[in-house]
């Protein structure tokens, strides 16, 4: 090989080698200790989207099934239907909440200092386990409520009892 060509080959290989090293250090799998903003952002976006989707599904169920009585702002109807805002039923015991949604409720009950004595119709034939879970997710993240998630499996377990 001529001397010049040989030099080009060495320098070229050196460049390619460096490029390979650079790529392997900065692509997936490499640089374990360093922050990789591109990849973390996409993971975070995926998680947010799932919450949003669940919230949207739950809201649709609320609007279709619950809104007529409990109202768009969750305030209920004076002396007839209790509010779902800051509600002990929504934020309280998981099993009790699942049962109220599945089986309905009647008879005298005091909620936030007001007495109610009406009928809440059962939804067990109307909503499947996932829909109840979505609805609870919406209720517990709206109307000034705050409580943990209830999975569809948990709903199924209570429904069977």
């Amino acid at each position: 090989m001529k001397r010049k060509a040989y030099k080009v080959m060495i320098i070229g290989s050196f460049i390619v080698l460096n490029a390979l090293i650079y790529v392997s250090c900065n692509g997936p799998g490499g640089n374990q200790g360093k922050v990789k903003p591109a990849e973390d952002a996409s993971e975070t976006m995926a998680a947010t989207s799932l919450n949003d989707i669940t919230l949207k599904r739950g809201e649709e169920i609320y609007n279709k099934v619950c809104l007529a009585c409990h109202q768009a702002d969750g305030s209920g109807v004076p002396m007839m239907f209790p509010p779902v805002t800051q509600s002990k039923f929504i934020n309280g015991d998981n099993e009790q909440l699942i049962r109220v949604i599945l089986d309905g409720m009647s008879g005298p009950v005091e909620i936030k200092g007001e007495e109610y004595n009406s009928i809440m119709p059962p939804q067990k034939d109307n909503l499947d386990d996932q829909e109840v879970s979505d609805l609870i997710y919406y209720l517990r993240n709206s109307f000034s409520n705050s409580a943990g998630d209830i999975t569809a499996e948990e709903v199924a377990r209570i429904r069977k009892q």
Partner: protein, 425 residues
Amino acid sequence: MIIFIILLTAMFITQCNPVSQSVNEGLIPDEDNGGLNLPDGFHALVVADNLGRGRHIDINENGDIYMALRRLNNGKGIVAIRDTTGDSRADEIEYFGNFAGTGMEINNNYLYFGGDTMILRYQLNPGELVPDEVPEIVVSGFPEQNQHRDKSFAIDNHGYIYVNVGAPSNACMEQARTVGSPGIYPCPQLERHAGIWRFPLNELNQKQVEDGYHYATGIRNSIALTWNNLTDNLYVVMHGRDQLYQFFPGIYTEELGAELPAEEFLLVRDGSDFGWPYCYYDHLKGKLVQAPEYGGDGEKTDMTEDKDDPIMGFPGHMAPNDLLFYTGDQFPDKYKNGAFICFHGSWNRAPLNQEGFFIAFVPFEGELPSGDWEKFAGGFAGAEPVKSPSDAEHRPMGVTMGSDGSLYVSDSQKGKIWRIFYSGE
């Protein structure tokens, strides 16, 4: 001597001048008319406020006002109000009675009261604001029920009391308030509910079944009912059924579900049957229509042939809660013998705005309306539109007439009472 005669004559003239019936001298309205919007020449003042969950009211000949409460206030279910200074505003307020309820009417020195399962009467004693503490039972034995249990009533001038027994359901569905559920046929609730029972007024300890006369049927719930003394018959404004759209979305749109069915104005005769649950009144079509629970599709009129039409239909769900025929002389002529109706305000028109929260007026000629209804008094709800009923500051609930022809109106949110009067300017 001449001066003395002149003075004496002047004194007599001023003493003997009758107070004009149509112009209220000396009655000072609130600057903002208590927040109400009224026709020209009408004014209002607030008699009392924050009395509790007000229901029907009545006023004694001496001006004492009594209001039923739907929830006990410190254990008491009736509030009594007296003005001692002559400015028409409450000076004495007393609570009594251990039962909450709706119906309230004074008759022959008794305060008749509609509790949820009984009609009671309290003995009024001349000059005393608070009646005897222990009531007597006029009628009991009404079924326990968890909706439409409020007992309203009307007293005629023949010694009878007419009691509303509301239906224990929305539409007699096989599965209560469930999407698409058919209705039970025949509807067993018509036997003890969904109608008017008549009882002799002056007998005690009567029972619904043994002593009641089943006067009319097919009426879902009549909180607003009254006896028209001029025409000598019973009138009701009925609460129509709910949620046509939610339960039958294939037949009704959201808009139709908000507008239908009509709140029906009924002339109730002995034996009337207004069709609930088998049909409802569609005021847009001007006729009774078969209910979807019984096979209706919004158009069919099966099962309506032998049912009685209303005399007028109002937009749906506005919740008529009291009815009064105006017999006073204070208001302008057009109001004479016409009907005032308290529309308490809807809860189930969402996602459309809620409607109602006003007093309507219907002119009458004899037994029937002589023209369209109009809004008489508004502004009860405060800020509009009302999206859910909790937004409404006040909701008109009960109406009665004072001996001078003023109207008194009660509110169910806070228990405010207004006096509405006409002063001609």
